[in-house]
Symmetry: C2
Subunit: 232 residues, 2 copies
C-alpha cells in the first residue's frame, strides 16, 4: 500500500511518535525521513524547518487536554484540574515544556487552555493585571516542576531511587557524589536520611511536591483575594 504523498499532519504525527519514544534529542530530520520513507529534506517543503515542526507538534498534543466546566465546578477545583492536566500532559510528552518555553509558538491548542485559565481566575474574582498574574503564577510552578521531571537527570534520579541495580557505574558514581556533597550540610544530610527512611521513589516524591505546591498556591491566591476585598 503505497502512500501517495507526504502531508503535514502525517509528518507531525510521526514527529510526535519519535519525540515521545526517544525524547527531544531523538528527533532529527534524517530519522524522521527514514521513518516516513522519504529523504530528510522532503520535510522542509511541508513544515519549513525543525523549529516550526516542533511548534506544530506542541500544538497538536495540547488538544489532548480536557478542560473543566468552570461554572459547574467552581474556580478552585477548576484551577486544580487545570494544573493537574498541564502536568499530566507534560509527563506524557516530556519534550513539551522545552518546546513551549523555547519557541514563540502561540498555538490554538495553548490559547484554548489559557482562555479557560482566564475564565477560572476571573470567576475567582481577579481583574485586570491581577488576573494576568493569577493565571501565570500556577503555570510557572507547573512549568518548573515539569522541567525538573522531563530531563535525563530525572530519569537518573528515578533509577537511583527505584532500583539502583539498573544504574550504570558512571551514573551510580554521580549519584554517590551528590550524596557526599549533601552529607556536608547538616539539614540536607538529615533530609536525605529521612527520605531514605521513607523509601519513596523519586517520582513519588515529585508527586507529593506537586500536590503540596498546588494547595499552597491556591491558598496563596485565596489570600490575595481576601486582601483585595478587604482593601476595597
Amino acid at each position: 500500500m503505497a502512500r501517495e504523498t507526504l502531508n503535514r499532519e502525517q509528518i507531525v504525527r510521526a514527529a510526535i511518535e519519535l519525540l515521545d519514544a526517544e525524547g527531544i534529542d531523538g528527533l532529527s530530520m534524517r530519522k524522521l525521513g527514514q521513518k516516513l520513507g522519504s529523504a530528510a529534506t522532503a520535510m522542509y517543503w511541508h513544515v519549513g524547518n525543525k523549529e516550526n515542526l516542533l511548534v506544530l507538534a506542541a500544538d497538536e498534543v495540547w488538544s489532548e487536554v480536557r478542560l473543566p466546566d468552570v461554572p459547574a465546578v467552581g474556580w478552585r477545583t477548576a484551577a486544580r484540574e487545570l494544573m493537574y492536566a498541564a502536568r499530566e500532559l507534560c509527563d506524557r510528552h516530556r519534550w513539551l515544556v522545552r518546546v513551549i518555553t523555547t519557541y514563540v509558538g502561540y498555538s490554538d491548542g495553548m490559547a484554548r487552555f489559557q482562555e479557560c485559565a482566564y475564565e477560572t481566575f476571573e470567576t475567582a474574582g481577579f481583574r485586570d493585571a491581577d488576573l494576568d498574574w493569577a493565571v501565570s503564577t500556577p503555570f510557572m510552578f507547573v512549568t518548573g516542576l515539569a522541567f525538573m521531571t522531563s530531563t535525563e537527570a530525572a530519569e537518573v534520579k528515578e533509577r537511583a531511587s527505584r532500583n539502583p541495580a539498573a544504574q550504570s557505574e558512571e551514573e551510580a558514581a554521580v549519584v554517590a557524589q551528590a550524596q557526599a556533597i549533601a552529607a556536608k550540610y547538616p539539614r540536607l544530610a538529615a533530609s536525605g536520611e529521612a527520605q531514605a527512611r521513607r523509601g519513596e521513589s523519586f517520582s513519588e516524591q515529585v508527586d507529593e511536591v506537586f500536590a503540596f505546591g498546588v494547595r499552597t498556591i491556591l491558598d496563596g491566591l485565596e489570600a490575595r483575594l481576601g486582601a483585595r476585598s478587604d482593601s476595597v
Copy 2:
C-alpha cells in the same frame, strides 16, 4: 606572555564568558578551544566532556549568590531574598536553568544555597516531608519563570514589546500570528488589549508576575503553617 598550560579553572571561566555572551548554544568545544588558543580536543583532558564542563560552570556561578542571615531577618524575608537571589542569578546567566535541570550536577554551590533554604523553612516551622515540600515549591516557581525568560522566545517578546522596529520581518510575522490567535478568544483578547494600554515591556510584566508569585507562595506557605498548628 605565553600561558604555560591550560587548567580547569581557566577553561571553566572561559566557558562562562562564552555562555553569558552567546547563550547555551553558543558554547562549542571548538569555539572554546579557539578562545583559549588550543585545540578543541585539549579540553577533554581537563574537563572530561561537555556535560561535565557545564556542570562545573553552573557550580561556579552559584558562588555569586549572597545568602540571607536567616535568624536575623526572619523566615519570610529570608525566603523572599532567596527567591529573588535565585531569579537574579538565572537572569545574569541565562543558560543556568537549563544546565541545572538537565544534568545531575549536585554541586557545592547549589548545596550551600539549598541548605540555607532548609534553614529558612525550618525556622518558619516546617518539619519532615513538609519541610522538603516547602523548600521545593518556591523553587519550582522560580525555575519555571526563569525558564520562560531565558529562551530565545523571551528575547523575541521583549523586542516586540519594547521596540518593534528592531524585529526582523520573520519575527514580526510570528508575533502577529500569535496576536491573531489570541484575538479569537474573548478573555485573551481583552487581556492583550489591556496589556497594550498599560504599555509595559515584556520584562516589566515578568517582574510583576514574579513579585505577585512570590507574595502568593509565601502567603500560601503561611496558610499551610496555620493549618498545621490548628490540627496539632
